[in-house]
């Protein structure tokens, strides 16, 4: 595989009536540019150019695709179209909107709203480095996810799932709006089972059913990811991966440590969303919204002394086990 990344279009290149200002992002699917439309408005232009299948020399416009990779290239194009189709149907302030779609330079381009701000991921990293007991304030978390859930509800109403919700895909604009971005993984729920473009997943945020082929995914799959995002906003770090949780689930303990810092209700909501069993989660965004927007006095139950001791003991045991394993990896456990 060629490790050379395709070169971005040079600044001031005009494609489809949009003038490129600069490259702002690159991913497996291609490149995103800041561009200016004919009326002087800023837009984001996403160029389909998968780095594993296509190359482009610096200063060139046309990508080169090796003949043996052409059919994969076209297959990837289909999922790029799927993303376009998905977004084209949705108009909501909390969902990135697509403005135009066109073909040029032997590839295709998706024009979207240009958002100024930063990903939630960046905010979490900045906040956790302050090393305070709370990463985010509870009211911030609630209002942020209230907005995101409004958008997600519309997505689900269109019978689509996002399937890659994570802090890096939640964008906070400079005027304080949160927007769901990157629907590259979105597949129409009803579309046929793919044999190549299976949804990829992000460890920690992907629900257990995403790891199993053939398992039925639904709104609850995105809801798991929402729970994991709230968890990350509280802890500053992503939760354990689902397969790890299936072996030994430490989420409840990790959340218990936050008691007294965040309200009981918020902690319960996260546990509910992140249930390993899809049926035990909120089955719809609406059900989750209702719980999350519940007004009233927040209860904070601090850990009791005995609970704290038990927890410390638990950590000690876990660490001892680890070191024992490290010292004697070949010891077989008696059955």
């Amino acid at each position: 595989m060629s490790k050379v990344k395709p070169a971005p279009l040079p600044p001031d290149t005009v494609i489809g009536g949009y003038r490129i200002v600069r490259k702002v992002a690159a991913g497996g699917f291609g490149l995103v540019y800041l561009a200016i439309d004919s009326e002087g408005q800023q837009v984001a232009v996403k160029e389909y150019l998968p780095s594993s299948l296509a190359t482009r020399a610096s200063g060139e416009l046309l990508p080169q695709v090796q003949p043996e990779k052409l059919s994969l290239y076209r297959l990837g194009l289909k999922s790029f179209f799927e993303e376009g189709r998905a977004l084209a149907q949705i108009s909501h302030p909390s969902v990135v909107s697509v403005l135009n779609f066109f073909r040029e330079n032997e590839t295709v381009y998706m024009v979207m709203n240009y958002l100024e701000g930063a990903a939630l991921q960046d905010f979490i990293v900045t906040a956790r480095d302050l090393k305070q007991s709370k990463v985010f304030r509870e009211s911030t978390i609630r209002s942020l996810f209230d907005e995101i859930l409004r958008g997600l509800r519309i997505v689900h109403q269109h019978k689509m799932l996002h399937l890659d919700i994570k802090p890096a895909n939640i964008f906070i604009t400079d005027d304080n709006k949160s927007v769901l971005i990157d629907f590259g993984a979105a597949r129409e729920v009803l579309s046929k089972e793919g044999n190549f473009v299976r949804p990829m997943y992000t460890p920690g945020f992907a629900a257990p059913e995403m790891y199993r082929r053939d398992a039925s995914m639904g709104p609850w799959t995105d809801i798991y990811a929402i729970g994991a995002c709230i968890y990350a906003c509280m802890q500053g770090y992503p939760p354990n991966e689902a397969p790890q949780r299936l072996e030994k689930d430490r989420i409840a303990i990790a959340l218990a440590r936050l008691r007294g810092v965040y309200s009981d209700n918020l902690i319960e909501v996260v546990e509910w969303c992140m249930s390993l069993d899809p049926l035990s989660r909120p089955q719809s965004v609406f059900a989750l919204q209702k719980e999350l927007s519940r007004e009233g006095e927040r209860r904070y139950t601090k850990l009791s002394v005995s609970e704290k001791v038990r927890m410390q003991f638990d950590t000690m045991v876990a660490e001892t086990k680890k070191s024992v394993q490290a010292v004697a990896p070949s010891v077989t456990k008696p059955k």
């Binding site: 289909k78 179209f81 189709r85 108009s91 135009n100 009803l190 089972e193 190549f196």
Partner: protein, 304 residues
């Protein structure tokens, strides 16, 4: 014209899902399609997909914005799809041909018409009552029709069909209509995965209980549960006819009154055939781009 529609296809215990469905509409008419690629012959999913694409393509060229001669349209469409499948089999040098059933409903003005070939069915329900249902082209239903009092029809396998699209003999099909539509009428198209598990009374009852968007997934779930681990694939598309009203409807329904003359919207996509067989060609890319831009226009029109 105003209607709400819901479609869903779920895989049962089978290795693959050879069912296909979709709908398209113009300002003046709507077409609903369902095809069930047949097992026991090669590439059933290709036959089903081809039938959808050929018929949706013909509809797009002939619905301006209405279909002038509906009987002629149905006849041409079915035969064109049939021939396309045979051509495909010949080009690929297949020793046996891919085959599919087909059921299609066309609504236009204030009436409905339908055509079917094979054992995919159409149910026409008004206020919770079954007004009409297609009769399968299976030996079992043929015997029931010829001898209604036959005591042992169950001995005949319900799955054996005497006609379909793609077989060496010319397909037989039945056209029904026009049937006048009333507010709230429901038309359901389904593969045998649904009616094989649920009785007509169940289907009719549950279809009438909730809006199609809730009733259809419900029905499919019931059929899959009843079918158990070896359930057939279940595919259903259903529409509810709504009379255009002055007040905005709260439900998500499609109104064709405000769309422009030349507009054609379709859920029948090129991307459905097995990806290995169906590389996007230039025309496919152009079509996808045009469809997406049309969707963007529709969405922004709804917003303003």
């Amino acid at each position: 014209m105003k209607f709400s529609v819901f479609q869903i296809s779920r895989k049962g215990g089978r290795e693959k899902n050879e069912d296909r469905m979709g709908y398209c509409y113009t300002k003046g008419s709507g077409l609903f399609l369902l095809a069930d690629g047949m097992g026991g012959h090669p590439e059933g999913e290709v036959a089903a997909q081809m039938a959808m694409q050929v018929i949706a393509g013909l509809y797009q060229s002939q619905a301006n914005p209405e279909i002038e001669d509906i009987n002629a349209f149905f006849t041409t469409a079915i035969l064109a799809a049939h021939r396309q499948i045979l051509r495909y089999a010949a080009e690929k040098g297949l020793t046996d041909t891919p085959r599919t059933t087909l059921v299609a409903a066309l609504v236009q003005g204030t009436s409905a018409h339908w055509v079917h070939c094979g054992d995919s069915r159409l149910y026409f329900v008004r206020s919770g009552e079954l007004l009409a249902r297609t009769r399968d082209h299976s030996y079992l239903e043929q015997r029931k029709r010829l001898k209604p009092d036959n005591q042992a029809p169950e001995l005949t396998n319900r799955n054996v069909l005497y006609t379909c699209l793609g077989s060496p003999s010319r397909p037989e099909f039945e056209i029904t209509g026009p049937v006048q539509l009333q507010q709230g009428d429901r038309i359901l198209l389904c593969s045998d995965g649904l009616w094989g598990s649920l009785d007509d009374t169940d289907i009719v009852f549950h279809l009438g209980q909730k809006p199609v968007g809730a009733a259809v997934p419900d029905l499919v779930e019931r059929a899959l549960i009843k079918g158990g681990p070896r359930s057939d694939n279940v595919t259903v598309i259903a529409m509810e006819w709504e009379t255009p009203d002055d007040f905005a409807s709260t439900r998500e329904s499609i109104s064709t009154d405000n769309i422009d003359d030349g507009v054609f919207a379709s859920t029948v996509q090129a991307g459905w055939v097995d990806s290995s067989l169906d590389d996007l060609d230039d025309a496919g890319i152009e079509r996808s781009i045009a469809e997406i831009n049309e969707a963007i226009r529709r969405t922004s029109a709804r917003r303003s």
